[in-house]
Symmetry: C3
Subunit: 138 residues, 3 copies
Amino acid sequence: MTYQEKLEIGTRGRGTYEITNAVHSAVRKSAVTTGICHIFCHHTSASLTLCENADPTVRSDLEAFMERLVPDGDPLFQHTLEGPDDMAAHIRSIITKMDLTLPINAGRAALGTWQGVYLWEHRTHPHHRTITLTIQGD
Amino acid sequence: MTYQEKLEIGTRGRGTYEITNAVHSAVRKSAVTTGICHIFCHHTSASLTLCENADPTVRSDLEAFMERLVPDGDPLFQHTLEGPDDMAAHIRSIITKMDLTLPINAGRAALGTWQGVYLWEHRTHPHHRTITLTIQGD
Amino acid sequence: MTYQEKLEIGTRGRGTYEITNAVHSAVRKSAVTTGICHIFCHHTSASLTLCENADPTVRSDLEAFMERLVPDGDPLFQHTLEGPDDMAAHIRSIITKMDLTLPINAGRAALGTWQGVYLWEHRTHPHHRTITLTIQGD
């Protein structure tokens, strides 16, 4: 059994946007009891991540860490056509990945107690992002 | 055909714990000949990784690299409630990922010659970790 | 429905090698309309990545970033048996991952406009690399 659905998300610029509820809703619609839920971000400057969903400082610390690891406007970069956040956004996406797969158990995306699913926008300006959810199982 | 199984692992604190045999065992039990084996770690401070399984210095070098890249007690972090390794463990998990999918070929998880599957505990103290294996195919 | 195929790729040493066409070709052969395409690299010193496929400076900047983040011959490393690029290649592979899963929609691997699929060779010398594609769906 395969079920597929698209999510369209308007971001307000750099940061993490929780999509956990949309994932749970798609799994319910799929009627899959045991299987997997594949999540895919169709971009090269936004990614997907599982992150602690209770204390918001986890996500601000994560962003601060990324600012230091892959700074905007790094003189190392030649690809700067779209601005100082362009190449940084590509590298951040590659390091944090555009695909994510969750198990489905008892008809639910089987996340851990503290795991939330986030779209991670790496560009500083707002963008329209497309995500595909593909659910397979019995 | 979908088969699912849980692994419960008690860690002795930070480090890598090989689970390759448990993966092979689950694939055998699934009776899937051609397909995929999805592995998922239900936590935000432990991750999964494929690593060279022959020379143990690969894993100690990897740990040393992580200590330098994402140090405990980094003054950058505000999320320090559970101690100096708390936020470092979240970031290390996000960088190394909590999900991993392997191909199944001829009834076996088709790992490369030197690839082992490891649970990577990022907290310094022992923890109880849950992993779900979901196997799909013909 | 499960379809599986092997890719054998000879690299000319460190760098990214596009395999997008081979992925599209396998999806066509699978005859899967809606589903997923799992890609797996059977090595511990080469990885898979989705990367912007238009401007080649994206990939040279990415390589330059990796040279700085995980330098060859880092005095931190004890695992140096196969040369100064040995341990760096393991860490780069672990950070950028050996598995990648794409959605299939309307009979095609549903990549974003700018997304290309690349094998990333992290060793400086040429190597023979094996990739398995597993396609599942309806």
